[in-house]
Every structure is written in C-alpha cells, then in structure tokens.
C-alpha cells in the first residue's frame, strides 16, 4: 500500500463510523489496533465497513484492497487513498462479489 498523508478529517470520519457502526469505544481506536484481534470485527463487518466508508465519505473503495487491510491504520490509509482517487475519478466501481471475496481474506 503506497502511503499518502492522512487527513485528520478522514481519521475522524473513519473513527466515527467505527463507533456508530460497530460500537467500538473511542479508546480502542488506535492506528495499530488490528481489526480482527483488537476491534473484534470479522468478514461480514469488513464488507459493511466498506459500505459505510463509501456512503459516509461519498467515495468509491476498491474491494480488492480489503485483502491488505489488517489494522485501523490501514483503514485510514485506504480511505485516504480512495478519497484522493475519487477526487481524480480514478477508482473503479466496487462489485459485491469482489467485496465479499476480499473480505473473506480478513
């Protein structure tokens, strides 16, 4: 995953949906927190997390990228990159099969 600078508003939005969508307490939302081990998410949650990110941030996220996401910091990175790509209208539209396949690798 190529690193780009994380915008504070992206971190805030991702944290907000982690709290509202998955009821994760704010104190657990550390960049190093693993989605499965530390935050208690699973493959179903991963699919829904992408839907929430797309809908709340108005962006498109590549489903295949989910396979590389392990930590909350990775989610920040993915959201930031997707936001940048969406701004340039470069991101492909997600399809559900790709989403699910990728999420099962989590």
């Amino acid at each position: 995953m190529s690193l780009i600078e994380l915008a504070p508003e992206v971190i805030a939005q991702v944290n907000q949906l982690m709290m509202s969508g998955f009821e994760i307490p704010a104190e657990k939302l550390l960049p190093s927190a693993t989605l499965i081990g530390d935050l208690g998410l699973d493959s179903l949650d991963a699919v829904d997390m992408l839907v929430y990110i797309e809908e709340t941030m108005g962006i498109k996220v590549e489903g295949e990228r989910l396979a590389t996401v392990k930590t909350l910091g990775d989610v920040y990175q993915l959201a930031s990159e997707s936001m940048a790509a969406s701004a340039q209208n470069l991101s492909p539209v997600l399809d559900t099969a790709t989403q699910t396949q990728a999420s099962q690798q989590l």
Partner: protein, 407 residues
C-alpha cells in the same frame, strides 16, 4: 407424558414484559396509535398501528444483533425473559439434543426488504448492500437469530403460517415432546410493524379505515361498528417442558399444555369459514383428550374484521353451544401477526393464574351475527381451569391450542 409451560416472555404494544402487558390488559389500555406519515402511501387507507414501546437492544451482543431486524430483537429479548422465568441459563445444559427451538414469523423483515429493494432499484444492482441484509429477510431469521443470541447449537425449526405461526410452533413443540423426542422446547413467534403489513389487509378491505383519528377505538372485535383489524407487532416466547424434565430439575410449571391442532382450510386463501374453524376446534379438543364441556373460556382470534369475527363466533357457538365465555385481546393489543398466538397463550395462562377474564376492548354493542356467546365486556373474576385459544391465518390456516391450570 404431560407437557408443561415453565417460562414466558413477551414484548407487546402494551409493555415489554409479561407482568407489564398483563397489567395493562387488566386496566383496559390500548396500544393503538395513528401514523399520520402513512398518509403519503398511495392506495393505503388505514393509518393505525400498535407499536412495541422502546426497548433496550444493548442486552444483545452487537455481533449477534447486527443480523437482526426488529422482529428478531424482540424475539431474543422475549427468549431471555422466558428462559430466566423458567430458571434456565443459556450454555452447555441447554445445548442438548433434547432441546429444540421452534419459532417463526410471517415473513422476513419488511423493513429490510424495503431498504434492500429500494437501493437495488436506485443503483441498478447490488452495489452498496450490507452483508447482513439477507440474515434479516431469510425465512428462518427469527429462529436463527434467537439461537445465536443464546449461543444455542441444538435443533432448530422455523414454521411460518402468517398469523397462526406461533400457535402452530407451540403445537408442533407439544407434539414433539409428547413423541419423546425433546424435553425442552423454546417456542413462539415475532413480527414487526410496517405499513406494508397493514397494506396487505387494507387491499382486501380487512384493515380498519374509519378510526384513523380515534385510534384507541379500533379494532372492535365482535362489535357492530367494527371495520377491520389493526396491525401490531411483538414477540411471545414460551418454554414447553416434559413432565420428566420438570421433575428432574425441580422446575415450577405455570400451566399444562393439553394439546392443539393445525388444519388448513383447503378452499380459500383469505375467506375464513365457520365449518373449518369448527373442525379445528373439535380436532384440538380430541388431541388434548378433552371435551367441549371441559373448556371454561375461549380466547378468540377475532381481529375485528367484518367476515372473520362472524365465522369465528358461529364456530365457537357450534362447538360449545350458546353462552361460552369468549373474548379477544386484539382490541387492546392490535394484531401482532406471527406473535399473537404466543402472546395470547401467555395472557390466557395469566388469566387462569389470577382468576380473571380479560374482556374484549371496544366491544360496546355485540353485532347481531356475532353471537350467541357470553361475550366478556368487563374484567370478570372467574375460576378458569381450561382455555381454548384460536388463531387463524391467511392461506387458510386454522389453529387452536388448549391450556389448563394446575390443580
């Protein structure tokens, strides 16, 4: 082998536990409200519903709750109540091959169906659908979600026959205990209020249209000014238990489930008939080893429809003769569809326990064609030994069950 009820739990339009809702029944309260926002739906004429009061979903773990619609949430909370009432704890002992969950709903979640198809049509495909949507609309959503909510990994069944669902579930549970296959059966049903459910009845002129501005005056079972039913929501769960299990764990039985019957009409999907209602009551009595003279009170299905109430009144008088004590709880609670049979069974057990008959709310003047019965019109002290409770459903499903007080 006798079958006992050892636990009960309920969320209803009149309260979110058994004692609260039965107290409201005794006070003659109504759970019916007007939904002015439903006026936006073209072709809908009934704007009445009876919602369940706000409840605490946080009692259900998030990873289980995420796949639940409102009906599964209510069923799970009612199950927690019923298990606690029966002094049963989720866990290893409940995960026995001798324990069965059997409960259902009319359909999957109408809210989720609406959200799913709205997005599907708007986006031209499945893009953006949540992973958990299917688990809210599958036909066994309530049963599967209840199982998950109590970490249950035993036998599971999910019958579905609309408004007779939970009655049928209880009777099948009774049959399977009698057959020696299970010792404990967690049974009941649930449904959630949505304008689509009301519209199903409204389309066939069976939903109340004339009381939109006076919600608590409808529905009016057996009354000469009745004009249709009011859809409600809720969940009712009962623990059925074999006599052997009750003795083995020194459980406290609340009532005996004597039996019941579920027969289809076989002729019409929506027009109920006194003839087939009569047949199911006779069959229920036979299977329970009882005769008509053993029954002290009939808890009628009577929803307040023009046709159904007349047919049921005819059938009750044909089976029991003139003067059978009869009432319907739909005037208080509305019609909670798949949940109503279990909720009414619970209320019937409470009536036997407290020695009181709950009247038919809004029954002011008995319609000329809804007799001859002893219609209960006010809270009436009575020693009730045995109750027959009816539930009938679209699709031509007729059911009745029999419960007896403990001596």
């Amino acid at each position: 082998m006798k079958v006992f009820v050892t636990g009960m739990g309920a969320l209803t339009s009149l309260g979110n536990d058994v004692e609260t809702f039965f107290g409201a029944l005794k006070r003659g309260e109504s759970g019916v409200k007007t939904y002015p926002e439903w006026r936006q739906y073209k072709g809908l004429h009934s704007y009445l519903g009876a919602p369940v009061p706000e409840y605490d979903v946080m009692k259900i773990p998030r990873q289980v709750r995420r796949s639940m619609s409102r009906m599964s949430e209510m069923a799970s909370l009612a199950t927690y109540q019923a298990l606690a009432h029966a002094d049963l704890q989720p866990g290893e002992k409940l995960n026995s091959p001798r324990v069965l969950i059997i409960m259902g709903s009319t359909s999957g979640s109408p809210f989720t169906f609406e959200q799913y198809f709205k997005k599907l049509i708007e986006r031209g495909g499945p893009e953006g659908q949540l992973s958990t949507s299917f688990f809210k609309v599958m036909n066994h959503s309530v049963a599967a979600n209840v199982a998950a909510s109590i970490d249950f990994n035993g036998a599971l069944l999910a019958p579905s026959c609309a408004c007779a669902t939970s009655t049928q579930a209880m009777i099948v549970g009774w049959e399977l205990i009698k057959a020696g296959l299970y010792d404990i059966v967690i049974t009941g049903g649930a449904d959630e209020l949505h304008y689509m459910s009301t519209s199903i009845f409204d389309i066939v002129m069976a939903a109340s249209r004339g009381y939109n501005d006076n919600p608590t005056e409808s529905p009016r079972p057996f009354d000469d000014k009745r004009d249709g039913l009011v859809v409600s929501e809720g969940a009712g769960v009962l623990i059925l238990e074999s006599e052997k299990s009750v003795k083995a764990r020194n459980a406290r039985p609340l009532a005996e489930m004597k039996g019941g019957a579920y027969l289809c009409d076989g002729t019409h999907m929506s027009q109920s008939s006194a003839e087939t209602m009569t047949k199911v009551m006779h069959e229920g009595l036979t299977r329970a080893g009882l005769t008509a003279s053993d029954v002290d009170y009939v808890n009628a299905h009577a929803t307040g429809t023009i046709h159904g109430d007349v047919e049921e009144a005819k059938a009750i008088s044909k089976v029991f003769g003139e003067g059978m004590a009869t009432s319907s709880l739909k005037g208080h609670l509305g019609h909670s569809l798949a949940a109503c049979g279990a909720i009414e069974a619970i209320a019937s057990i409470k009536m036997m326990e407290e020695g009181v008959l709950i009247p038919t709310r809004n029954l002011t003047t008995v319609a000329a064609d809804c007799g001859p019965l002893r219609h209960i019109k006010e809270v009436t002290p009575a020693k009730v030994q045995t109750v027959l409770s009816n539930n009938f459903a679209f699709g031509g499903m007729n059911t009745c069950l029999l419960l007896s007080a403990l001596n």
